[in-house]
Symmetry: C2
Subunit: 114 residues, 2 copies
DNA sequence: CGTATATTCAACCTGTCGGTTGATTACCCA
DNA sequence: TGGGTAATCAACCGACAGGTTGAATATACG
């Protein structure tokens, strides 16, 4: 499996359970059992999800006695934010155009349009 | 297949070919043939990729004679940017902490470590 | 030492993904 | 009307994703 890192991150985030796990971890570290509790799937399934998140670099896991503490690593999310930002211009443009239009409307409401 | 919209967008972006197609469309509309040209896969495969992107709301397609003009719709990317932004605090915090650490290191470089 | 707890490993099943090839539809043009 | 071009539909295939259950491993604790 030689998937590129960006694809790995997107793929990891393309699952609601995994996104929920991340949301939970955003509030603080947790063990596998703690993370699995809210979900209607087996512990093993959650363990697999965590492996996916770890491979994508979104979490790190450290051993602590018989527990494995999971911690969110936001670095890939930062990369992702930068990737999406490449396209920001596109929707900004659209909004700018709307803004311009509304502004122009307001300014020239009592005049005639060009 | 009742996948939620966010998952659909992430899944659509989890493929390098589809991301390349989006990058191409960011420079302007294109037909299926034009989009397929750079890739070493069949036209049908690209057509499928476009269907995925369309289902995710990332592109729209309009008929024009025998051509089908594809246009990027940045709206889902904006949604995605907002999603990622939920986590911005986390990496900002971390970098602040790193900054603090480095600053502290610099200041106490001539003293002994704790 | 033996047992309980936390977690992963292994094997398996089903459905979806990305790709192929071949046939089909839709449109233009001479 | 018939041929050429653009694109999709349909059927198929191998690989992988997400789920299960059952066994194995690691660590603490009495």
């Amino acid at each position: 499996m030689t998937t590129d890192p960006v694809s790995a991150v997107f793929a990891a985030l393309a699952d609601p359970t995994r996104r929920a796990i991340l949301a939970r971890l955003a509030t603080g570290d947790a063990t596998v059992n703690e993370l699995a509790a809210p979900f209607p799937v087996s512990l093993q399934a959650v363990s697999k999800h965590l492996a996916v998140l770890e491979r994508a670099g979104l979490i790190t896991r450290t051993r602590e006695a018989q527990w494995r503490r999971c911690r969110l690593d936001p670095a890939p999310l930062r990369t992702l934010a930068e990737w999406v930002d490449q396209y920001r211009r596109l929707w900004d443009e659209r909004y700018d155009t709307l803004d311009d239009y509304l502004r122009a409307q307001k300014e020239t409401r009592h005049e005639q349009a060009p």
